[in-house]
Symmetry: C2
Subunit: 207 residues, 2 copies
Amino acid sequence: MICRLIIADDHVLFNDAIKTMLEQEQGIEVVGQVFSGEKVLAAVKREEPDLILLDIKMPGMTGIEVAGAIRDCYPGIRIMILSMYDDKRFVQECKKYNVHGYMLKNASREELVNGIWTVMEGRPYYAAGLGEKVNIHQQDDFIRRYNLTKRELEIIRLVKENYTAQDIADRLFLSVYTVETHRRNINLKLGIKNTLALVKFAEDNEI
Amino acid sequence: MICRLIIADDHVLFNDAIKTMLEQEQGIEVVGQVFSGEKVLAAVKREEPDLILLDIKMPGMTGIEVAGAIRDCYPGIRIMILSMYDDKRFVQECKKYNVHGYMLKNASREELVNGIWTVMEGRPYYAAGLGEKVNIHQQDDFIRRYNLTKRELEIIRLVKENYTAQDIADRLFLSVYTVETHRRNINLKLGIKNTLALVKFAEDNEI
DNA sequence: ATAGAAATACCGACTTGTCGGTATTTCCCC
DNA sequence: GGGGAAATACCGACAAGTCGGTATTTCTAT
């Protein structure tokens, strides 16, 4: 089997390096390189590749948007997301859009090539330990590390989404007092002084 | 001239791909690959390379920390930062630490190779339009787009760093009232309701 | 030189967050 | 089934942010 593919990644060096690497593989031919989301569709039209290696964060359109567009216009073309982010939401969204594969940028060369051929054979390729499981695991780790409870974690997530204590109380059918108590306990456990610090902490720990 | 180098980047695929790419270059030899900040020093000790390609964001130690340690122990070894981020602070810090080069991951293959040889010849290599100039440009764009003033931008940056209005007032030798007035005007111009939203806005727009 | 923008400053009122203490109920493990 | 953790709830006090209005001084560009 031969795989004609396009690489879509705005990091030129990464894009080039992957190209160089894949050109050494038997049966893989890099027929195009693009460096922004908008240009993917034009390149696909021009080359009609078998597969697209697609970064998520690109200027213009995100990889997930591009994937949706390609699925609609060219259902035969395989799509492999190539992302830095092992993010539950991204992975879930990809599954929702029927993206064929999701590979992390800290995969090895062998994994990438295996993934490409897996997807080419029509099977989905989602790297082991990707998405939900990992996140649940991380969540457990986090709870243990800081002695947080489930409720506290739930409230951290809502605080991060910029809900006020009152908002959270309404949403969870609690008293504002309760929410504030939880927040106080959270701050105590994490050694935090204010909302902003909590949000940054949560983002740093990818809650 | 021959350049024996180590690649330090936690994204395995990128690391491998760069290795593959550089191995095709005359005179460049990849003598080591590491995937975390802590392991760089051991590899340096083992291989005593001429140059290190160093990512900034790595688990364990940041590239900038590593650079400092290497400069102290092995002043002869050239360091080239290879980062995604065209961030003023990173670039300034690298200059402060006398890092020899700073290359963006969206450079081209030619640029990378040129940069490596430039640094090998003892000259600094900081990609064109890097650091201050670029940031000033971005800053101007931002000011124009949202009709912000310099003072307002200054205050946004401090708010982002989790300073309270009082802190900012102390720092800039202003009255709290003044700072609050600025903040109100900022919120008005950006259509923002609270501190957290402002911080997120600032982060999204890379202020 | 002068008009308009920017920066500075203040007041009062209200909201939201932080922190101290305290107390009851609910749930789960041994 | 009993004990401890978790979740729920309240009060008061103070700190910080939000918002309305207003006013003076300092730049700056025409």
